[in-house]
């Protein structure tokens, strides 16, 4: 039984105390209940445990509609700034739920950690790239990636990173689910509802008209750019798996022509990612700093920049696969992908993705 389990809880942080103060004001007001899933979830409670607050913070999609419509926003003496408080709290929860813990601590200094890890991975790949066949690139096998990095090495390293990411994600979800004292098991209807919310970004809608990026006005641009990034990422994923099917089931060996499914999916997906990321970065750079959390913003930037580099090097690799630059590019691309998986699928927004909205 869950109740019999002993939980070691850290003393309540300043972030949690701040979150509770604000959420209690929100619960007495309730004007924002039409904006997103956070407010109906607040209304279900009278008292807020640290688990409740983590849950609410991760339910928040940072659309900021509540900040601009709040009669108690700064400079009011209540200084109610829910998006910022929740962003700070999310950062805490990423650390709390992240698995394994040491990586979570690393994540605290994330901007640097991300770059260092990416660099290490790149160097590792570049080093391995030299071993099997020095003369592959530019030879008659031009465009054959496995000639640069042997398929075994590629699968071993990427596979290990991917499996680790999956494990870390699952452990993070478990920690989150336990801490929020979710009354029910993860059942099909709530998972289905969660997936629907994920795919439509309903909660990034500000009640229908989009987010507040710069001021009181609403805009769908952030949602659309996020869609572009998200679906672009899925297309890239689909590209990889189509290629795997081509090779292992049909026995068609890469490189594939430009009009083949893996290349088309990858090209369109990569381009969509670039557009999405550029748009999101532009919004972040020009956004009103009022409701933003400085610490989380750094993480967001490093995540977006890594994603951008991943997509850009992927596209570049495709364009230049028959040139001598291919070997180096491939190493950089794979290095960035691996570090993305390592850093961002584990300690970072895993708890966000695990959030199920109440309905």
């Amino acid at each position: 039984m869950r109740s019999a389990e002993v939980h070691l809880r850290v003393p309540e942080s300043a972030g949690l105390q701040q979150g509770r103060r604000l959420v209690e004001i929100c619960n007495a007001c309730r004007y924002c209940e039409g904006y997103c899933a956070v407010f109906p979830a607040i209304e279900l409670r009278r008292q807020f445990t640290s688990g409740d607050l983590s849950y609410l913070a991760n339910l928040c999609h940072d659309c900021r509609a509540c900040y601009y419509s709040c009669q108690y926003a700064p400079p009011h003496e209540f200084a109610l700034n829910l998006p910022k408080a929740f962003s700070d709290l999310r950062l805490e929860t990423y650390e709390r739920y992240a698995w394994p813990r040491p990586l979570a601590a690393l994540f605290r200094r994330n901007g640097i950690a991300a770059s260092v890890l990416a660099l290490l991975c790149t160097v590792l790949f570049a080093w391995m790239a030299k071993t099997p066949s020095r003369s592959a690139a530019g030879s008659e096998n031009a465009g054959a990636f496995y000639a640069v990095v042997s398929e075994g090495v590629m699968i071993a390293i990427s596979g290990a990173a991917f499996l680790f990411a999956l494990l870390a994600l699952a452990m993070g979800l478990r920690n989150f689910w336990r801490d929020t004292n979710s009354p029910s098991a993860l059942d099909a209807p709530s998972l289905l509802a969660a997936f629907k919310d994920v795919f439509t970004l309903r909660n990034l809608g500000g009640g229908g008209d989009g987010c507040n990026n710069h001021d009181e006005s609403f805009s769908q641009t952030r949602r659309y750019f996020h869609h572009s990034l998200f679906y672009g990422f899925l297309l890239c994923f689909a590209s990889t798996y189509t290629a795997a099917v081509y090779e292992h089931i049909f026995g068609w060996i890469s490189p594939y022509p430009f009009l083949s499914l893996p290349v088309l999916l990858g090209t369109v997906g990569g381009a969509a990612m670039l557009v999405g990321i550029a748009g999101l970065l532009q919004i972040k750079v020009t956004a009103d700093p009022g409701p933003a959390s400085k610490l989380l913003l750094d993480i967001d930037y490093s995540f977006l920049v890594l994603l951008f580099v991943a997509a850009a090097t992927g596209l570049l690799l495709l364009a230049m696969r028959s040139t001598a630059a291919m070997g180096g590019l491939l190493a950089v691309h794979l290095g960035v992908i691996v570090s993305l998986f390592l850093i961002f699928t584990s300690p970072a927004p895993s708890s966000r993705r695990a959030t199920i909205s109440p309905r």
């Binding site: 007001c29 004007y31 904006y35 509609a65 419509s69 009669q71 108690y72 209540f78 229908g208």
Partner: protein
């Protein structure tokens, strides 16, 4: 230096719901419009920024309203809350006007919550703004600026030069510098005087110092007083204000909705001396909440305490301030700062006077007391389950009733009975024409919206003639 044009077609004083409705309407009619808002941008919108809904007449369900709410039902509700202190012609005119509001509001950026089934008893009569009144004000300001209304914040109108029923000049102050404007027409939408403690003291004495003002601190009544001094006809009882009991820990101004308490029917309420003074269970809360501001105002030091126990805590909405808890009544009295022996005796006498009944928080049940004075006629249950809970109460002032008299074109009527040639009024500054007493949810915003649009239209007509 004040960056203010020396003249314009229409000058709007005050940037709440009525002011923006007037400014937008006048601008769309082709007039050049300046809007002067006393508050800085962060606190713009007057009391409208604390509102949440408006009461609308409608013959059939809409996306934001259930069922229907006829003109006659609306009128009867208004008649009942005002005890007849209303101008029937203007009231019916307002009610009919509300049926036209939704499309106009939506066209100017207003967004509404979908009609909620069951949860809110007002979903048939009132449309709820998505995000509340500040979100509505944000939308209106954006619309006004898009249309080219010249909005100046931090700009207080100190006086208007009113001669023979005509406004000649308006004097304003911004950042300590003064400026004068000669508009062709003026719409005053600057609210009542509820935030002016000195003015309230004229009627309430030093008790006014302990009042909490629920809304904007900018409702100082400067324009209202200035116009009344120059011969505008008054309307509404100057001594009266809408007052409810709010949490005594609320900020002095701008506490808004979160300081309200609705625990009174399920509590006993005592003064500083630990004595009860009124029947807490007289009627359902929406019908009685507005008398408790006055009751608390009449208590020594203008403070009272609602006391109840664990079983009643969850019957009321959570407050922004946590309840004060204790394991015993004596301890609770200490935490609240009232006489412990007196409170203990009051609770003991009350508990002994409670007669058995079937408790039902949703209707006038038969749980009452016998043999104590004052009695508690409904929802009386012994206070005996720790932790015991207390809330401190103070009078919370929503608005004042004194205003200027207007005709149905929103023209200000002078004491000689003639309507002004170019001075119009909308919103709280003239709401007393329709709401001479009492209050019913969303009617203030309805009056502001209907008369704001009329005033804007008529002012533009005068200016462009």
């Amino acid at each position: 230096m004040v960056d203010l044009p020396q003249s314009c077609d229409v000058l709007v004083v005050g940037g709440g719901n009525a002011g923006l409705s007037a400014a937008i309407t006048a601008r769309e009619a082709g007039a050049s419009v300046i809007l002067l808002e006393h508050a800085p941008k962060a606190f713009r919108g007057g009391n409208s920024r604390h509102t949440r809904n408006l009461r609308l007449m409608h013959d059939s369900p809409t996306a934001t309203l259930r069922g229907s709410y006829s003109s006659s039902e609306y009128w009867n509700d208004l008649l009942s809350v005002t005890s007849g202190k209303t101008d029937e012609r203007l009231a019916r005119f307002t009610i009919d006007g509300t049926s036209q509001l939704l499309p106009w509001m939506k066209a100017h950026g207003a967004r509404f919550q979908p009609a909620l089934e069951g949860t809110l008893s007002l979903s048939r009569t009132n449309a709820f703004f998505l995000g509340g009144g500040k979100a509505l004000m944000n939308a209106y300001y954006a619309a006004a600026e898009r249309l080219g209304v010249n909005v100046l914040y931090d700009t207080e109108v100190r006086s208007l030069c009113l001669a023979r029923g005509m406004i000649r000049e308006v004097f304003a102050v911004k950042n300590g510098a003064s400026a004068a404007v000669r508009p062709k027409a003026v719409v005053v939408c600057s609210g009542g005087f509820q935030a002016n403690i000195e003015w309230l003291r004229e009627y309430w004495g030093d008790a006014a110092r302990n009042f909490i003002i629920r809304g904007t601190p900018y409702a100082q009544g400067v324009v209202l007083k200035n116009l009344l001094e120059q011969g505008a006809a008054p309307v509404g009882d100057p001594t009266q204000c809408h007052a409810v009991a709010v949490d005594a820990r609320a900020p002095k101004f701008d506490g808004g909705i979160v300081s309200r308490l609705d625990c009174v029917p399920f509590s006993i309420v005592v003064d500083r001396a630990g004595r009860r003074f009124y029947d807490e269970g007289e009627d359902i809360w929406p019908k009685r909440y507005a008398i408790w501001g006055r009751l608390v105002a009449q208590c020594p030091e203008q403070i009272a305490y609602a006391v109840t126990d664990a079983k009643s805590e969850k019957l009321s909405m959570p407050s922004a301030f946590p309840p004060i808890r204790a394991e015993t009544i004596v301890e609770l009295a200490g935490n609240l700062g009232i006489d412990a022996a007196a409170l203990e005796a009051t609770v003991r006498n009350f508990n002994q006077a409670v007669r058995p009944g079937k408790f039902d928080p949703g209707l006038l049940d038969d749980c009452r007391t016998e043999g104590i004075n004052p009695p508690k006629t409904h929802w009386a249950r012994p206070i005996d389950q720790p932790p015991f809970i207390g809330y401190p109460l103070r009078p919370g002032i929503t608005f004042t009733y004194l205003g200027v008299k207007v005709d149905e074109n929103a023209r200000v009527i002078m004491q000689d009975g003639r309507s002004s040639a170019n001075l119009f009024a909308a919103g709280e500054i003239m709401a007393g024409n329709i709401l001479g007493e009492g209050y019913v949810a969303g009617v203030g915003m309805a009056i502001g919206a209907v008369f704001g649009r009329i005033a804007g239209r008529e002012a533009a007509k005068v200016a462009l003639r």
